[in-house]
């Protein structure tokens, strides 16, 4: 008989949280701390969602989405998790760019970007200050008609090099393009610019382990390998969730799964107003990613001064957001992990990430898919050669992930790496007005994605759920 992963679960909870991405984890923790009984269901065999890692023989551990997040994560972890988690967050001080237009190093904060823009790019200081102030003043309630491209045109007309410096990292961070609303750019950019880029010392496995322990301390019933199959709605209210063949009663559901998956797969469109369904259908998913993972032999050391922590590279002569999605990859972001990431293991690793389109990978036959993966690894090794000479002699193991990999592990429609485009936020926020007790907390709207966005959105939604449960 298969193992019962819901063994000894209660028949009903105040809240069922579906999915253990950072937003789901944070929502479960916040609600439990506020005194509610919480069941957390995760379909995968480990917690974390896209905040994940995997092991390969030889003592290597690869982090999938630990490339960098804004300083705000320290405060959010301290407040919504605990101070041990917050205290493990450290700054990445060596961010590099290398492309046909420029090659430079930065600490990735407002002061250092200003220095580069004034001294290297020859932009007037006043313009730079005004640009930063404008970006910082943006909120999600502001003007949505101006695009990021128009914002740049206003401050730096015709300056493709400046646009590349300011936009390329954000495009990597959340898939946004020059055609997306300027405010999504402004909010995310300002988050990073406030104090630079940070990482979690000890790796993703350590972070998720600490979060798991905190959840249990706060009384959350945590269940892995449990896929929620259905959210039951009765008389316009959430009534129960079916998982592992069992119906579990609840007053509220927080779905951390994909927004469209929540509406169309878990609830079903018949439960919603047709106008809402139209809007939900129109929500555009964000792009997916490919990654190549390279583990170096135990005795090989990377040249930290040459590689840096995070390296944005491109061989494309100009910056165009559609080029970043092209399967003929010209742009790659490398994360270099030194032994300091996990000191007890003493390993060095490189992860190369690119934005990618699901359609380019989904239609391939088995043989073509394998061949495409092999080519992705080989062309990446060729490209890394410039920064790590003789890379092929230095590696112990390689692996790669495609949009299909992301889809398989997270059930995200189209393997979406960063949720939805901006319009997804309003649809996500409207769910409880359509069905009482139904909430979504997970990457949406560009601004509510990434590690910090997901954690904060988990709190924002928990506040609504808490108010609902108290009524």
């Amino acid at each position: 008989m298969p193992k019962d992963f819901l063994r000894d679960a209660k028949d009903a909870y105040d809240v069922v949280v579906i999915g253990s991405g950072l937003a789901g984890l944070t929502a479960a923790n916040t609600l439990a701390r506020n005194g509610h009984s919480v069941l957390l269901l995760e379909q995968h065999y480990k917690l974390g969602g896209l905040a994940t890692w995997f092991r390969r023989p030889g003592g290597h551990i690869f982090d999938v989405s630990l490339h960098g997040f804004p300083a705000g994560m320290i405060k959010s972890c301290r407040r919504y998790w605990n101070s041990q988690i917050a205290d493990s967050i450290v700054q990445l001080k060596h961010i590099r760019f290398d492309n046909p237009m420029f090659s430079l190093s930065t600490t990735f904060d407002r002061r250092d970007f200003t220095r580069h823009l004034v001294e290297r790019f020859g932009v007037a200081r006043k313009t730079v200050d005004e640009f930063f102030d404008t970006a910082r003043a943006m909120t999600h309630l502001g003007d949505q008609s101006m695009t990021a491209g128009e914002l740049f045109e206003r401050f730096f007309p015709g300056r493709e090099d400046v646009v590349r410096l300011l936009m390329e990292p954000i495009t990597y961070a959340n898939g946004s393009t020059l055609e997306d609303p300027a405010l999504t750019y402004g909010i995310v950019f300002s988050n990073f610019m406030s104090k630079g880029v940070y990482t979690f010392a000890g790796g993703t496995d350590k972070l998720i382990g600490m979060m798991d322990a905190e959840l249990r301390r706060n009384g959350v019933d945590v269940r892995i390998r449990c896929r929620a199959e259905k959210i039951h709605v009765e008389r316009g209210r959430v009534a129960a969730v079916t998982a592992a063949g069992r119906r579990i009663g609840c007053r509220a559901v927080v779905s951390n799964g994909n927004l469209k998956g929540t509406i169309f797969d878990l609830v079903g469109q018949a439960c919603f107003d047709p106008r809402f369904i139209e809007e939900a259908q129109a929500v555009r998913l964000n792009n997916s990613s490919t990654q190549v993972y390279m583990a170096l032999k135990p005795d090989v050391r990377l040249d930290e001064a040459e590689c840096g922590d995070l390296l944005f590279t491109s061989t494309a002569p100009v910056f165009r957001t559609d080029l970043l999605l092209n399967r003929q990859v010209t742009s790659r972001t490398y994360s270099f992990y030194y032994p300091k990431t996990r000191p007890e293991r003493n390993r060095s690793l490189i992860v190369s990430s690119t934005n990618a389109r699901y359609e380019d990978w989904a239609g391939l036959g088995r043989a073509d898919y394998q061949e495409s993966k092999r080519r992705l690894v080989e062309t990446t090794l060729d490209a890394v050669e410039k920064y790590v000479p003789k890379i092929r002699e230095k590696i112990d193991a390689t692996d790669c992930a495609t949009p299909l990999t992301f889809e398989r592990y997270t059930s995200h429609w189209a393997g979406s790496s960063f949720g939805t485009k901006f319009e997804g936020l309003a649809v996500s926020r409207r769910l409880p007005r359509e069905i009482a007790g139904l909430y979504h907390a997970g990457s949406v709207g560009i601004i509510m994605s990434g590690w910090l966005g997901a954690v904060n959105y988990g709190v924002i939604v928990s506040n609504d759920v808490d108010a609902f449960l108290l009524d």
């Binding site: 506020n34 959010s76 407040r79 709190v459 924002i460 506040n463 108010a467 108290l470 009524d471």
Partner: protein, 85 residues
């Protein structure tokens, strides 16, 4: 609770949210935002703490009422006047 007691309760919450700042000498009519380094998550925390500690429900459309000490106390007075401290 009296206005003075409500104010004391708000100062206590603010001090927990911004532990590195002195929240005891805030100017009544000046926005919190102009005296303390508060972001939108901090304001959300004020709302959550008021609910947790005093069971007061503040709908989202009323959040702007929490801009300064004077407006916050004025807004909370009718909701909290029957509470014991």
């Amino acid at each position: 609770m009296t206005g003075a007691e409500i104010k004391e309760a708000v100062v206590e919450i603010l001090s927990d949210i911004a532990p590195d700042e002195d929240c005891t000498n805030l100017k009544e009519d000046v926005a919190f935002r102009d005296q303390l380094e508060l972001d939108s998550m901090d304001f959300l925390d004020i709302v959550m703490e008021l609910r947790k500690r005093y069971r007061v429900q503040i709908p989202e459309e009323d959040y702007p009422q929490l801009a300064s000490m004077a407006s916050t106390v004025a807004y909370l007075e009718p909701l909290m006047k029957d509470m014991e401290k």
